[in-house]
């Protein structure tokens, strides 16, 4: 009996809890899909579901990874100074990108009619605000870098000496 379990386990590639919990996962997913299957827009939902994973893994990730690689090459990560410059650009750039991603509808002025009906307010674009916040992040980061600059120069000189 025990031997049979061991053989089953080896054939499947993992233990019984692994199989059970995945069975639960797929049952739940299947049940949810079954319940929306009647919706006319179900394929759109599936498209967005799978599309979200693809958009992240095969578009967003390669984009920001490539941008970071370019930035690393431009700043030279070998010296303390180069690394500091890299991170003082990296951090505000990531902040600005994050805000753009999350608050994209306001920044790009999407959903105007719905917005106005819902809030009773005219739509104003948030592009200028986003630029202002992003600019502030870069300025703040540059100010901190400027304050650190003498110490970083000293570090680099000491390590090259």
């Amino acid at each position: 009996m025990i031997e049979r379990f061991a053989r089953l386990r080896a054939a499947y590639g993992a233990g019984a809890p692994h199989a059970l919990v995945l069975l639960l996962c797929f049952t739940l997913a299947g049940w949810a899909v079954f319940l929306v299957a009647g919706e006319a827009t179900v394929w759109r939902m599936v498209l967005w579901f799978v599309g979200a994973a693809i958009a992240h893994d095969l578009i967003l990730f390669p984009l920001y990874a490539a941008a970071d690689r370019l930035l690393r090459r431009a700043t030279g990560a070998r010296s303390a100074l180069g690394r500091a410059v890299l991170n003082h650009v990296r951090v505000p750039a990531l902040g600005a990108a994050l805000l753009f991603l999350v608050f994209l509808p306001g920044i790009l002025d999407l959903g105007k009619a719905t917005y106005e009906a819902a809030t009773g307010q005219p739509r104003v674009s948030y592009a200028a605000r986003w630029l202002a916040v992003s600019g502030a992040l870069f300025v703040l980061s540059a100010a901190i870098l400027a304050a650190r600059w003498p110490r970083l120069r000293r570090l680099d000189r000491e390590s090259s000496a």
Partner: protein, 423 residues
């Protein structure tokens, strides 16, 4: 129970052949992962942060569904079979309950976006490892990961678009967000059961890390602690720009990039509107002197004009109004207690009350209130707010306000209330 041992499941020849025939460029991709901070420890820390926080987002989301009163078939989506919390009557106390649960659901959901993105960054080499699987178990686990990653990104994308009124997706938000959540919940539970032991072990002692650690680490530009600080900083930035939509006064403006980051005007009625009078498409004449409130129940129908309602005992309560979109505001409402109106209709202790608006088209032109929501001492048919008459946008001539009730069920431009007994 880990599936990381380099052994092959059945059929062995198939998996071995697959492993022995990598696609061109596989080696370059494998060596291309250079970040020295990637590794099972970073992934474990991020994973544990999500394990501690995402359940709160999930539970508050499910509570939100319960708050809409599914027993009256007014929670969307309508037919969820067993995919819901056990039925219970949504309480009216504390009055800020819905403000809290929904504020947390939306706020925490937004704040966790950087953590989710960092977690995905930390494990992305696994997407490209070769062989993609060594057993049936691994194939199934990979499929569940699509549900996990697709699920969380789908929930974030639909949620974030919904609170900004950009319905780019072209399907019903409630249906998609609700069932998408259940797909995610199943995959999340499975992922935790399968991976938690490994995450805990990785944080207790160092583990061999064949999947995530780079073969040729590049120079360190940011420590692991630095990466975690960066992620935390991103969350903090989002928190600072989001929390304002739940605050009153000048601090609301700190939600710079969100639609609820401004006060729509000055004066007693200068707070957030969820559906304007114009959008509701009600003929202005219907809210004028000809307006009557119709009360029914126990076979009796009574009608009151606004002056008669104002002549009744008035009760004032400071109550929040909170939207499913996460924003909220607290105001001082004055009007007639719903319990008093129920008594006037001849049903002193109704099992429920069905409120209908003058509005003809909206999804929320009517709402049913539970017994406790009618009986609460602060449950009102509000006529005034902050000492002034309600504005047209806030529901003049009269609107419902009930402690802890979702905003859209605080029906505006009320035309009639039917007080019902159980039979």
């Amino acid at each position: 129970m880990g599936t990381n041992a380099p052994e092959y499941g059945a059929p062995r020849t198939l998996w071995r052949k697959l492993a022995e025939h990598p696609p061109p460029g596989e080696g370059a991709v494998r060596r291309g992962w250079r970040s020295p901070v990637r590794g099972v420890r970073l992934t474990s820390v991020l994973g544990l942060v999500l394990l501690g926080t995402l359940p709160l987002v999930i539970v508050t989301g499910l509570l939100d569904y319960a708050a809409y009163g599914p027993q009256f078939r007014q929670a969307f989506p309508l037919d969820v079979a067993w995919l819901r919390l056990p039925p219970f009557d949504w309480p009216t106390r504390p009055s800020w309950l819905f403000r809290l649960t929904q504020g947390l659901h939306v706020g925490l959901g937004i704040v966790l976006i950087p953590v989710v993105l960092a977690k995905l960054w930390s494990v992305i080499p696994k997407l490209f490892t070769w062989p993609p699987a060594r057993s049936v178990a691994q194939v199934l686990e990979r499929v569940s990961l699509l549900l996990l990653v697709g699920g969380i990104l789908f929930e974030i994308a639909t949620g974030v678009l919904n609170i900004q009124y950009a319905y780019l997706f072209g399907f019903d938000f409630y249906t998609a967000h609700y069932f998408g959540a259940w797909v995610f919940i199943g995959a999340f539970v499975a992922h935790v059961v399968i991976k938690l032991p490994r995450a805990v072990a990785a944080l207790r002692r160092s583990l061999p890390d064949p999947d995530l650690a780079p073969l040729r680490p590049g120079p360190v530009t940011l420590s692991r602690r630095g990466v975690l600080a960066l992620v935390g900083g991103g969350s903090l930035l989002l928190a600072l720009l989001t929390v304002g939509q739940s605050l009153d006064g000048p601090l609301r403006r700190t939600a710079l990039l969100l639609p609820r980051g401004r006060n729509p005007g000055e004066g007693p009625n200068g707070f957030q509107v969820n559906r304007s009078f114009a959008a509701a498409g009600i003929q202005p004449a219907l809210t004028g002197p000809a307006w009557r409130l119709t009360l029914t129940g126990g076979g009796r129908t009574v009608r009151f004009d606004r002056a008669a309602l104002l002549a009744m005992p008035q009760h004032t309560a400071r109550l929040p109004i909170a939207c499913v979109e996460g924003w909220s505001t607290q105001q001082t409402w004055t009007g007639v207690r719903l319990a008093d109106l129920a008594a006037l209709a001849g049903v002193p202790a109704p099992a429920s009350a069905h409120v209908v608006s003058l509005e003809r088209t909206g999804l929320f032109r009517q709402a049913t209130l539970q017994a406790n929501q009618v009986a609460d001492r602060d449950a009102l048919l509000a006529l005034r707010v902050n000492g002034a008459d309600l504005s047209a946008d806030h529901g003049y001539p009269a609107r419902i306000i009930v402690p802890a009730l979702p905003g859209v069920h605080c029906t505006k431009w009320v035309a009639s209330i039917d007080f019902r007994t159980d039979d």
